[in-house]
Symmetry: none
Subunit: 207 residues, 4 copies
DNA sequence: CTTTAACCGAGACGGTACGTCGTGTCTTAAC
DNA sequence: GTTAAGACACGACGTACCGTCTCGGTTAAAG
């Protein structure tokens, strides 16, 4: 997984061979914008964060932000991915069950503390607009869902898991429980939850 | 379930014996506000809905809205509960498993079409503010969660369900999957989901 | 001169012989309203004074104020007259010139300090509305103007003053200079002004 | 006299050598605001004029008005000066007496009709606030007062006028009578007043 | 000694305007 | 051609008062 999946994150598409005329995009500006967002999110909610505040904090014109991102959610999502950084590939596991456990624990660790809160706020803000929702879903959730779905499918094939279960539904129940828990007001995922979720997840799938 | 649970819905608290002075709250205004919200939500998202638009549509001063509700989410939630109306008590079921199936099907039917969309938008809007989140959770989700949790606990006691499973986690997985599905961009809950969810829910619990 | 000239000050008109049925006007309320206004005017300008603030300060319903006065200016004017109190009749003077000097000094003493400021603010507020302007003029300025005009006319007749001068214009110049001085930002009328005005006033008139 | 005296009228201060960054102030907006005010004042009083109405009429955001003027009075005063336009310098007169007559007749002609009403309303509105009062006084009355005061002083020196008279008081009496007359409800200055005032003014001064 | 009428306080009502904030766009000069 | 700066039209915010209304209650004269 890499955050290079993000549309607005990479200034030039891979096949952009022709030299662009004029002043090139300032990498400094981009970084100071993403950093400004991350610093501001320590103090305010995504809702209360404004493009103007970001521009001011980053010492950047509003135009520069609007040129590269379509709206606030897109910037924040980018900033979140930028801050989370590249996640190393998972070590191979002996069984799919073990792999799933690893995968879920890694995901939940990612959302410990402030990050979980921000993610949920981004997801919430994204609801207002179809396009933004797609943006969020495809740049963040989709890769996690796909990884899990593949592990489940593999487990079904190799006999670890029940074949009758709907993979899509299982994925919804697992990631849904995490999201829902965070959305219900839980400041963070507690110990009880993080230990029990993988166990119950396997309970649905196995035998 | 009754919408009388809503804080702002009932003008006088039950133990309000002392005669209220001054002009009493206008029931007409209250109703026209809630109706205006419901009519407007057919055309716009919760995000794009404004207090000013509600006031205008309802033929009411903005002050009147702010007098009785602290913010937009509270009005919309109230309007949603007002529109859903009182839900009749569930018929008793032979087994807890059957009761849970009924309960879930009823819940999902509630969220068919526009209502599901609105609920999710309300939940999303509520994320920005601790107080509003509590308001939403306690006036809507909590009662559903409690009903389900009680059924699960009863089922554990009478031997229908496994005792090892965490009731709280099961509830999160079940309602979480519904919420998450709607939040991922699904316009509505499809046939596949609505039939499979109760089955899988019981799969986690039973044996 | 008496402030009984004020329309709203006296609860019953002189020829109102028939006893009114129902609860009579509360003198207590009237006084607490006028007192409230005077106390509030020590802290705020007439512009910033609100009917609601008066009602609250006086411990009175807004309705009670609106029942007896048509608007803010009327109440404030009444409160001002109430606070200034009844002015004793002038002692007779040997000459009209002396009488005018007395009259002007008395008028300027009336407007020393806060009162001058308030009067000017009332006059200013009254400009917005024809009716209120008439109210102010007839209940306050007119009596002063008439007194001065009569003295001037008398002086013309007995040979003290020039007959060619326009009485109305002289009155305008004299009272106008006071009002204008206060309106130009002077906190109060200074010693120089108060001593010189009567002298110059007579200069216009005499010979 | 020139309306360039007005603080908010001129976009750049005289010694502003450093090139201004960002989008420059829109002259179009400024003009349409001032024009809107003048058009609206034909229909309503200064009191009833609202910033929102001006913005709407001018096709301009409220912010744009607030960016350049601190309050309603400032805009209206500016609009009044804009409408009155630049007044040509006075032709030289043989005597100071003649010059004063010219000066007063010119001033009174300026206030004929609607303008006098508006001026008085502006002056009235300005009373509520120290700063606004200064704004009005220094941008409008002061120049007239100074011109008259200079003529009087010159006349005293060349022997036309009495040396004993207080220049300041004379100015107050002259301009005060005009203002006071307009404030007392006179729709406009009548023939009688406009012909007599200069005569009596000289009467005070001469011999 | 009850009825009736006008008053009173409290406070909710439909409105209007306030002054502020944020949006996304546009217009400069600088680089 | 991009950038920082910042003005622009617009829309909504939440608040303050306006003047009106609707309650329960009080106070006195009339019946």
């Amino acid at each position: 997984m890499s955050n290079s999946a993000m549309k607005y994150h990479e200034p030039s598409s891979s096949d952009d061979q022709e030299k662009r005329r004029g002043r090139p995009r300032s990498e400094t500006s981009k970084k100071s914008i993403l950093n400004a967002v991350n610093r501001l999110l320590l103090l305010t909610s995504v809702k209360d964060l404004s493009i103007e505040a970001i521009a001011k904090k980053a010492g950047v014109g509003k135009t520069t932000i609007y040129r590269w991102w379509p709206n606030k959610v897109a910037v924040v999502l980018d900033a979140l991915l930028y801050q989370l950084g590249n996640t190393p590939a998972l070590p191979t596991s002996a069984t799919k069950a073990e792999a799933i456990t690893n995968q879920l624990e890694r995901f939940m660790r990612l959302l410990k503390g402030k990050n979980g809160k921000i993610l949920i706020e981004v997801m919430a803000e994204a609801q207002a607009n179809e396009e933004t929702l797609t943006l969020f879903y495809e740049n963040f959730m989709l890769q996690h869902e796909e990884t899990l779905a593949n592990l489940i499918e593999d487990g079904k094939e190799n006999g670890e898991f029940r074949k009758e279960i709907s993979t899509a539904l299982a994925v919804d129940m697992i990631y849904g429980s995490i999201v829902y828990r965070l959305m219900s007001g839980a400041e963070t995922l507690d110990q009880d939850f993080t230990t029990n979720l993988p166990l119950e997840a396997l309970n649905i799938l196995q035998k």
